[in-house]
Each structure stands twice: as C-alpha cells, then as structure tokens.
C-alpha cells in the first residue's frame, strides 16, 4: 500500500523498435553476443564468470571475505598471538607461525566439528573410535540445520510475496507450544502422534503468523512492525503457558520452569536408529528430512501452483496483481500464514527433535532470527535456503568444537559478516574490483524496505 511508485522511465529505451514494421525485420541482438561468446575458451569464460559480481560469486566471495576478516579477528583477539607481534622484527617467524596456527586451528576445528574430523577418521579406521564419534560432526550439522532451514523458508516465502517476516521468532515459539501440547497432551501410537504433533506446531505457527498478514490486509499496518512486536507477545505467552498447571512438569525435582516432556511416540526418530547404527551421541533426526521435504514443497508451490503464482505476482507488483483481479489482502494473509506454518514446523522440530523435548523459556533459541539471515543468504529461494541452512548449521556445530580455541561469538560474527557482504553486493564488488553483471547487482529485499 505504501510502495513508492516506480520511477517513471524504467523501460529500456524505445529507440530501437521505433521502426515501422515493414521496413526492418525484427532485430535479434542476442545473436551477436552469442557469436562473440563462442570464440573464447572455457578458461576465459570461467575467468569472466568469477570476476563478475553475479549472485553465485558474490555469495561465495562474501563467505571468503568473512573468513578473511574472521582470521584477522582471530589473530587480534588471541593475546598469545598478539604477544608474538611485539617482537615481529627480531623474530617474525614466531608471529607468522603463531598467526597461522591460530587461524588454521580455528578453521580446521570448525570443519572438524561440522563435517568430519580426520583424526577421528584415522582412529576409526584403526578400530579405535566408534562410528558414533566419526559421524557426530555431520550429525550435529544436520541437527542444527533442520530448524534453520524451516525458519529460513518461513522468511523466504514471505519475501517472495513481498513481505518481510521479522516475526519468525514468535512463530517458532508458537510452533514449539503447539507441538509440545500435542506431544505431552495426547497419548497415541507413533504413526499418528508424530504427524499430529508436527501439524500442531505448523498450525500454531501459521495462525500466529497470519496475524500480521491480517493486520496488513485489513488496516495496512506494516508487517515489519507488527511481527516484531508479536515476537515479544509470543515470548511472554510462552512464559505464561509454561507456568500453567496443565503444562508445568509436576516432578518436584525439576525446580526450573519446564513443561512436561513430549511423549516418546511424538518424538522425531533419530536417523542413526532408523539406519540401524547404534551410536547414542548421534542426535540428527527426521527433522532434516522434514525440512528438505518442506523446501521441496515450497519450491513446487512457488513454481507450479496458482497460489505461488499469485504470491510471486503480488510480491513483485501488488498494483498489477490487483488490477489483474487477484486479491492482494488475501495473498498477504495466506503468505504470512504459510510462512508462520513453516516457522511453526521449525519450532516443532526443536521440541520433538532436541532434548529436553519440552517447553522452556529458551526452547526456541534464536532460530527465528537466524532464519532471516538464512533466507537472505539463500536469496529467498527454497534450495538456496536449504544450502544456507546447512552452512549455518555447520557453523553452529563447528562452533561448539572450536570453543577450545575461540569464543562462541566468533561464529555469530562470521554469520553476521557473511550476511552484511551479501546484503551489500556493491561492497564486495568494490573490494574485489568485480565487474557488474548484465542484470545489475542483485539484493534480496522486500518491497518498501
């Protein structure tokens, strides 16, 4: 409703086609560049691609630049390494090797904690380590990635409809509540209980997410404002719900505010158990499958369904969509409801997949907020969000291992740096002297922001 009218002359210049039809044949400017491009070999084409600020390369460079800045911070923040720089000129090798060790240890730790630890691999081959220890890093990555992907999809779907869903955090919280209530409130066989609990999370999140959509549709209230505020509402509601008689864990030994735990039958089964691997530490669960299935569903919805068509149309141009007879308010409500359902599903995977399988004040962590950065990194595209969610999940998992060399906040910092670079492609372009791609620099933003 408040979208600024686009500048009046956005069309390519009319000059070329101002041609009476019979005089010239329709021009095909593409043929020429095609001819030119056939000549250079793969090498120069590749070189041209990597020196252009296109979406893929900007994303990649953002990641690398963040790693470089992170490396500098690692060196600066380590007092021992800093110490070696005070006598840099009398013995530079100390400073250089200490810096190298600090940085490489940190990033190697990140990798080892997120993907595979080669020491463990060697031990495993020698029969000294369990399969559980070997798979633990990747299992951790998948565990963290599942809710991040779902929350990222929640923000990304709203982006597609031109809405900035800052309220994912509140929707995740409501999702945890919905899933937990069904998880401990009902007692059913697993094949019914788990789907119902997931559904409960999705519905709770969806209804909560629809509120900013309804407010925008009916009163024009901006979803950014309303959804931010609803995050606080959700958090306070959670606090109230936990202390509720029906919800609170009656165990007198549990002094803390914690709800009853969800029934075993409602929990997301662990992948290790499903694959017949006996390793208690592997907590990766069905949640990651749920997340990837959700991404596939969202991808299909956006590309193949009339609803997705409508969401994208409204997101790109609400005026034209209205003129074409689409109901814009309706689309806002559906999109926010759908986004909320995805975030609610993220909440459900938290409660049903991660110990203590119960509601606490911090049950949702920062998943909803991280979802915003995941969606930005994934360019609001479903599969991009999956990739970004896996990356951030890996960073989280690796961070826990990296703690012996670095503070936990380092990963938060890396994430923030990546997102800053991605949000400001012009910065990356300028720093690396990249070329501007044909379509211009791409940023992911919602209309009006």
């Amino acid at each position: 409703m408040t979208e600024p009218k686009p500048a009046e002359k956005p069309e390519p210049d009319d000059t070329a086609p101002v041609t009476p039809a019979p005089e010239t044949a329709p021009e095909r400017p593409a043929e020429e560049p095609a001819d030119q491009e056939r000549r250079p070999g793969f090498g120069s084409l590749f070189l041209r691609y990597v020196t252009t600020a296109n979406t893929v390369m900007v994303t990649l460079y953002s990641f690398l630049l963040a790693m470089v800045i992170g490396a500098v911070l690692i060196i600066v923040s380590d007092p021992a390494v800093r110490g070696t720089f005070t006598y840099f000129f009398s013995r530079p090798t100390d400073a250089l090797s200490a810096s190298w060790t600090a940085v490489s240890d940190a990033y190697a730790g990140l990798f080892a904690g997120a993907i595979v630890n080669f020491t463990t691999l060697a031990e495993f081959q020698a029969g000294e380590a369990t399969i559980g220890r070997l798979l633990s890093p990747i299992s951790e990555t998948l565990t963290y990635a599942a809710p991040l992907i779902l929350a990222g999809l929640a923000v990304g779907l709203a982006f597609q409809a031109g809405l900035f869903n800052i309220g994912a955090q509140g929707q995740v919280i409501m999702g945890t509540v919905g899933a937990a209530l069904i998880g401990f409130g009902l007692h059913l066989p697993a094949y019914l209980h788990l789907p119902l609990a997931l559904l409960g999370g999705a519905i709770a999140g969806g209804l909560f997410g629809a509120i900013p959509g309804v407010l925008k549709a009916w009163s024009g209230a901006h979803e950014v404002i309303t959804s931010i505020m609803l995050n606080y509402v959700a958090l306070s509601a959670l606090g109230w719900i936990i202390t509720n008689e029906f919800v609170k864990d009656p165990d007198p030994n549990k002094q803390y505010a914690i709800s009853k735990p969800a029934d075993e039958s409602s929990l997301l089964p662990r992948l290790a158990g499903m694959l017949g691997i006996d390793a208690p530490g592997l907590r990766a669960n069905l949640g990651i499958i749920v997340a990837i299935a959700a991404a596939a569903l969202v991808a299909w919805l956006l590309a193949k369904s009339t609803l997705g068509f409508r969401m994208r149309a409204v997101g790109l141009n609400a005026h034209a969509s209205r003129t074409a007879g689409m109901s814009v308010p309706n689309t806002y409500i559906t999109s926010m409801g759908g986004a909320g359902a995805l975030a609610g599903l993220a909440g459900a995977t938290l409660v049903l997949g991660i110990s203590p399988h119960a509601l606490t004040h911090g049950v949702a962590g920062e998943v909803g907020f991280d979802g915003i950065t995941v969606a930005l990194l994934g360019r609001a595209k479903p599969w991009g969000v999956v990739a970004a969610g896996l990356l951030f999940g890996a960073l989280r998992a690796g961070a826990n291992t990296m703690q012996s060399t670095l503070p936990l906040d380092m990963v938060t910092l890396l994430q923030a740096l990546i997102v800053i670079f991605i949000a400001a492609p012009a910065l990356v372009k300028a720093m690396l002297h990249l070329k501007v791609p044909a379509g211009g620099l791409a940023t992911t933003t919602a209309k009006g922001w």
Partner: protein
C-alpha cells in the same frame, strides 16, 4: 543507443523546440545536458558573457557534466516532466532546496531571503506564486511555475522544459507559452521538448527533429504539421484510424450518478453518468487529472465508489470484485503500464496469463499447466507481433510498445463485452500505435463496447464514434468526433463560452 552523435545548437534568446516521438531520445539528450547521464562521447560547449566584459563576445567553455550540480553551475536549468519538488515544503523552501543559506552562524534556515528572492523572480517574469504556499496544495500548473522559478533563481541562461504541457489545461498551456515568450525576450534561451506539433509550431523559433537517437533535420515553425509529423516518424503518418461507421446496439456499460473519492477524499468523479453500447467506441476526452483515472478504476472495482450505479451488460456491478468484472468479459488496459499493467520481473508468458492464471486451461485444481501457458505465449507473441527472443524473457526487457502489446494480447485474447482502454498508446511507437488502434477497432466490430480514455485529444478523435468530454469529475458534454478541435478544447477546459482560446492556435 539512445543518442547517436547528436549535434544541437541553441542561440541566446531563442526558443528551440526539440521534436520527437516518445522514446526518440529527447529526454536522454536533455538528461545528458543536465548531468544526470554522462555521455560516452562528445562534448557540451556553453557560451557565457565574460564577467569582465558583459557586453562583449561570449566565452566558450567545454563541459562534461558529472552531476546536475555541474550543469547548474554552468547556467543550465531544467524543468522535468515529473516535478522534482518536495510536496510538504513551501514554495520558498523548495526553491532554495540544495543551496540552503543560513542566517549568520546560527545555522537557522534563512527563509526571509528565500521569500524575497521568490517574489523578485515572480514579479520580473510575471510568474505569480505565493512563496509560503505548500507545494502539495498548489495546482499542477502553478507547481510547474515553481520549477521554473527554481531554475531562474540560480541565474540560468538556458532553460530546458521537458514535455511541460502534458499535464496542463489549455489555459495553463497558454499561460506557459506567454511566460516562455517573456523569458526569451529577456535574453534567456529555452529548449522546449515536445511531441505536440501544434504547440511547437506556436512557440518555437527553430525546430530540431530527432528520431531514433539521431537528428533528422532542423526546420522552422512555418513547416506544416504533416511535414513535421513525417520527419518525426520517418514516413507519412495517417493520423486517422480507418474504420466503418459504428452500429451501436445494446448498452454494455451504464454508469449513472457515479461518485468516486480519490486518496485525499475529494470527489474525483462526481455524479458522472455515461453509457457505452456494444459495437461503439466512446472516447473520453479531458485534461489529465479530471477524474479519468478514477473513472476507469471505479469501473474495474479498483477504486471504491461512494455513490451511483455501474451496470455491465445489464448486471449491477457496483459492488462486484475486480476478478468478477474481468470474468464478466471486461478487458482493461490500465493507464500506468509498468505499475498496473505488468509484473515487470515476470516473464512474458506469465504476464500473458496474469488475470487468467487460475482458470482452465492454464491451471487445474490449483496447479499451473506450463505447456498450455507456453503455447498461449507463443501464439500471442506471433499474433500480436511482440518483438522478443523468448516468452521466458522478463517483461522488463521489452520496449514500452512491446510491453503494451503484451497487455493488449492478454486482454484481447478472450471474448470481451466491454473494453476499457486508458491511455492505450501512451509512450509507444507509431507502429505499435497503429496496431493497437486497429485491434481496438476490431474489438468494436466484433461487438464489444469500447471506452477509450486518453489525454491525447488526437487519439480520442481518431478512435471514437462518440466523444464524452470530462471535466472536474463529470461528463460535461457528449459530442461527435467531427466537432472542431477548438470547441472540444474549450470544453476540456470546462468552459462553454467562446472568449478563451484553445491551445496552440
């Protein structure tokens, strides 16, 4: 290439008209002169009186403007098609925008001297404006004056007016032309950009015609309109549309006593009544901003009505939803193509089904049928001669004329009972214009009723079987298209008297 080696010389004290079609490159040229675009090649030479010897030879300086600031410093002023004013500021505040001076060292804005400066310029050139009026409360013509004052106050020698008459009433146009003459007599040079032959002939001292980014000729205002038109378009242009006499049948659109409020709550359409029958084209003529936009939007249920009835093919549609009206067989070409007509980042194929996306055969049970959508796109691109390499290119990659063809293809590919065409050929090239006009006539001949709303009187007169003149939210007269232009011009100005002159005569 928007501009290809253009040479243009403007003498001091001259009104130089730059004539060309929409998209011929006029605005690009002027934006280069004004520093908004930096040219790839070529130079701009500006002659100014020597400070030491004001009456002597002009001193030439060569420029390549990097920003409007450079252009301002070199003595250029520009009045854009779309005003660059801050609506909530007063006239005086707008005039000093960008070169605010403060009182002494207090940092307080020096409004008094700004007011005085505005008054001085107003009086010198007869451009009367209240310096303390809020810009948003001023009529369009006066806002334009503010723009001119803004340019004059910074001592500009060359004033560029980009399509200044598009938004004005005939009376305001006459006033503007008077102001321009006065400025010229005061020694200022003016570049007057227009594609309206009559105005150009009436005011210009010299005329440069550009086409497809090149200068195709320089001529004097004594050249005939058809000569100018031929230069502009590159061949003889029929300003008429070939059509058989209409055979109006049953009413397809009956509007009675319609009242529509605009964003500010004033009655943009005020008790309007109008009937369109099948098989006829009714043209609504009027100066922009007299409620035409709101009329079209109200018919399409895009603007809320506050009174009156709208019957489409006999059914009361005053409270229908937009998609119901589309379903009832109403086609709509919206006036703002890029805002309301197309989703620029959608493909051509997607845009072609924008209002049918959830109907068979394009979708069944909520699932899009990609094959059918592609077939439709290929068919439309060929039938409507949309110049593109692929239906999967975005609408944004098309030129304005081809974008309009996409809209026309979308609306005309289903049986219509009624067609609302608002500014159907705005900003499109002549080839596309002829094509669109012929398709509109074809729709009429196949039995649809057509309502053409255009601020181009020529277009209305060429297309319409009946002309309704709209002024101040009402249809104040219905006349035949054979009515003399002057008479219609007067009606458009809301006057039925004969003491006022129509534009450009």
């Amino acid at each position: 290439m928007a501009n290809d080696h253009i040479d243009l010389t403007v003498e001091p004290g001259e009104i130089h008209a730059l004539l060309g079609e929409n998209g011929a490159g006029k605005s690009t040229l002027m934006n280069m002169l004004y520093g908004l675009i930096t040219p790839d090649e070529g130079e701009i030479v500006i002659g100014r009186p020597d400070a030491a010897d004001p009456d002597g030879e002009l001193v030439d300086t060569v420029h390549r403007f990097q920003s409007p600031g450079d252009a301002l410093d070199a003595g250029l002023g520009m009045v854009h098609q779309h005003f660059m004013l801050v609506p909530v500021f007063t006239v005086a505040e707008n005039v000093i925008l960008g070169r605010e001076t403060s009182k002494g060292r207090t940092g307080l804005l020096d409004r008094d001297s700004a007011r005085a400066a505005v008054r001085e310029v107003s009086e010198r050139y007869g451009l009367w404006v209240d310096p303390d009026a809020l810009v948003e409360e001023l009529p369009v013509g006066v806002q334009q004056r503010v723009e001119i004052i803004k340019a004059l106050i910074s001592d500009c020698e060359l004033l560029i007016l980009d399509e200044p008459t598009a938004v004005l009433t005939p009376q305001e146009i006459n006033e503007l032309l008077d102001i321009m003459r006065q400025l010229r007599d005061d020694g200022k040079s003016i570049v007057f950009i227009s594609h309206k032959l009559k105005e150009v002939k009436a005011i210009a001292d010299r005329i440069t015609v550009i086409r497809r980014g090149k200068v195709v000729g320089e001529t004097s205002p004594t050249a005939s309109e058809s000569e100018l038109a031929a230069m502009m378009v590159g061949r003889d242009v029929r300003l008429t549309v070939e059509k058989e006499p209409a055979s109006p049948d049953t009413p397809v659109l009956e509007i009675s006593d319609l009242t529509v409020a605009d964003d500010r709550g004033t009655h943009a359409v005020d008790g309007l009544s109008l009937t369109v029958r099948s098989g006829e084209i009714v043209g609504v003529a009027g100066v922009q901003g007299n409620g035409q936009t709101e009329l079209a939007e109200a018919i399409m249920a895009l603007a809320p009505t506050i009174g009156g009835t709208i019957r489409i093919a006999g059914d009361d549609m005053a409270h229908a939803k937009t998609h119901e009206i589309i379903e009832a067989g109403v086609g709509y070409i919206p006036e703002d193509r890029s805002l309301d007509g197309l989703v620029r980042d959608f493909t051509i194929a997607e845009n072609l089904i924008l209002n049918r996306y959830n109907r068979p055969p394009y979708a069944r049970r909520g699932v899009l049928n990609a094959a059918e959508i592609q077939r439709r796109a290929a068919d439309n691109i060929e039938t409507f001669d949309v110049r593109t390499q692929s239906a999967d290119h975005t609408a944004a990659s098309l030129s304005g004329g081809n974008q309009q063809k996409v809209i026309v293809a979308r609306e005309f590919s289903r049986p219509l009972k009624l067609l609302i065409a608002a500014q159907p050929t705005r900003g499109v090239d002549v080839g596309a214009m002829e094509f669109i006009h012929s398709r509109i006539v074809a729709e009429r001949d196949s039995g649809a009723g057509v309502l053409v709303i255009s601020s181009e009187l020529d277009e209305v007169l060429a297309l319409a079987d009946r002309v309704a003149v709209m002024y101040d939210g009402k249809i104040i007269a219905e006349v035949s298209p054979d009515t003399p232009r002057d008479e219609i011009g007067l009606l458009m100005a809301g006057s039925t008297g004969d003491d006022e002159e129509a534009a450009g005569d």
